[in-house]
């Protein structure tokens, strides 16, 4: 084993206070310089796993150890886009853990925020209002905040959703650079092609279904188990590399669907 483990989970089960475990049997390692894709349906336990790795939820069973500081990079829609804050104000929030609660940000804190924004390629946008930035730029501001936190482990919650191809490519490049600096990156995603390009894949659906190299893990069987069969193979030009896609989760309830079906068959 070459690189040191930043996060190590061994038989971890996670439950919300007073409830049964919503995620069981999680055993994986995140090592320095690795990008690990976390796959699973909505409600499959990705967010729960992140909250456990962040230390917000204590494992109900098993051992979960982290040797580096962890920082969450949430979806940007979760933050208040109408807030009167600049990009550097948001990056500066990353300095909060480093000082007592009554202390103001120091000159060094502000310099760290500026440096982190430059690091993610937003030096020229530092004084722009956060809510007016594009989705990809906002995502990078939140990554800058994690860099300011001096996080060795970044947990990104579907960072590519809603990004255009240019922004997605820039983000992909940035994640590669962060891993190159020896950080560990956990990325919740629905994009199998992207996951294929990273170092490891962790599949969750209430429990851990697989963990390992993309080539070993991303098999039709594992994916069917992970997504409960909601996978279709798209017709591609290359018969050796069929494109698989995950159907978006249904938001209709069954009642509504039946109603729809009846009308369809009556016609």
């Amino acid at each position: 084993m070459s690189a040191a483990a930043l996060v190590r989970a061994d038989g971890v089960a996670v439950a919300y206070p007073g409830g049964p475990p919503v995620l069981t049997g999680v055993t994986f390692e995140l090592r320095e310089g690795e990008r690990v894709a976390v796959l699973g349906p909505n409600g499959g336990g990705k967010t729960t796993l992140f909250r456990a790795v962040l230390g917000e939820l204590r494992p109900a069973a098993g051992a979960l150890a982290a040797s580096a500081r962890r920082a969450a990079v949430p979806q940007t829609e979760r933050s208040r886009l109408d807030f009167p804050v600049s990009a550097s104000d948001v990056a500066l929030m990353g300095t909060i853990p480093g000082r007592p609660w009554w202390r103001r940000p120091s000159r060094a804190d502000r310099a760290a925020a500026r440096a982190a924004l430059a690091r993610v390629g937003l030096a020229d946008r530092a004084e722009r209002t956060y809510g007016e930035l594009s989705g990809g730029q906002r995502q990078r501001v939140l990554i800058a905040r994690a860099i300011v936190q001096d996080a060795g482990v970044l947990l990104l919650d579907e960072p590519f959703s809603g990004l255009d191809t240019t922004s997605a490519a820039a983000l992909e490049r940035l994640l590669g650079e962060l891993a190159g600096e020896g950080r560990g990156v956990l990325i919740a995603t629905h994009d199998l092609d992207q996951a294929r390009g990273w170092d490891r894949v962790l599949c969750l659906n209430g429990r851990q279904l697989a963990f390992g190299d993309p080539a070993d893990v991303l098999t039709p069987e594992v994916l069917a188990a992970t997504y409960g069969g909601a996978i279709v193979t798209l017709p591609g030009t290359d018969p050796d590399a069929p494109r698989r896609a995950i159907l978006p989760p249904h938001h209709h309830d069954h009642h509504h669907d039946h109603h729809h079906d009846r009308r369809g068959s009556a016609r």
Partner: protein
């Protein structure tokens, strides 16, 4: 036309209003940004029975008012932290209970019915030096706390879930904010009363909300607006022989409505 400002009691009213404008600007912006408008209104209402009780029992009225407002603000804060957004019903219940209790105490227990009106609607033209001192002290505390804790108040409002992992785990910054809301509610009480407190604590900051995209600029604009609205209200009240607290509230409401109309037209 500026004759009213020659009168000593009008000058004292202006002197009271300037620190209150500072409170309206510094703290009002945080109240609006953090969604504390209703709790702020409730804290002012809770201060009312506290004042009556303290007055009736013969100890410093602002202390009684602050105690009651603080109790209310911290209770609402705890509830908000525990059950998310569903604390407004309880806030409303306690608000009504506080008003009812205050009126019963004032009229039936201490027979001080004469002062009920001034406690509910303020008596800006009968301000004493102690009121001005309280307002000035509260303004200084609000400025200092906003300067020191602003980043944290911003962070925990910006994305509460990430704020927890950012290590904003200390409850103290938010406790201080709620305590300041209680202090501000008591400080504005002598000027605009328990029922009109939000005319200073919420309305000016809500009016300037969309004019500024940084907190500091927003606060400065709000201080200026609250001071102008306040002084204009005092002048109009004297000229028209109207109650000053209500006049300020009407002006603040009208400016807010105009600003909202202007924004929707733009």
């Amino acid at each position: 036309m500026l004759d009213p400002f020659q009168l000593p009691f009008v000058q004292r009213a202006v002197l009271e209003l300037l620190p209150l404008a500072v409170i309206a600007g510094t703290l009002g912006c945080w109240i609006v940004l953090r969604g504390l408008a209703f709790p702020a209104h409730g804290a002012a209402a809770a201060a009312f029975p506290g004042l009556v009780l303290a007055d009736g029992l013969g100890f410093a009225a602002p202390l009684g008012g602050f105690g009651a407002a603080l109790l209310f603000a911290l209770a609402v804060g705890r509830l908000a932290a525990r059950r998310g957004e569903r604390h407004d019903t309880l806030t409303a219940l306690v608000l009504v209970a506080a008003l009812a209790l205050g009126i019963v105490l004032a009229s039936d227990v201490f027979h001080s019915a004469a002062s009920v009106e001034s406690l509910l609607f303020g008596s800006l033209l009968a301000i004493g030096p102690a009121d001005v001192r309280l307002a000035a002290a509260a303004a200084l505390v609000a400025l200092a706390a906003s300067w020191l804790l602003g980043t944290r108040w911003l962070a925990s409002g910006f994305d509460p879930a990430a704020a927890r992992t950012l290590g904003v785990r200390s409850p103290w910054p938010d406790v201080v904010l709620l305590a300041l809301v209680a202090l501000a509610a008591v400080a504005v009480l002598s000027a605009v009363g328990a029922l009109l407190a939000t005319a200073l604590l919420v309305v000016p900051a809500a009016t300037t909300r969309l004019l500024s995209d940084r907190v500091a600029a927003w606060q400065l604009t709000t201080i200026a607006l609250a001071a102008i609205e306040g002084v204009a209200g005092i002048w109009l009240a004297v000229e028209l022989n109207a109650p000053p607290g209500a006049t300020i509230a009407v002006i603040a409401g009208a400016v807010f409505a105009l600003a909202a109309l202007g924004r929707s037209a733009a």
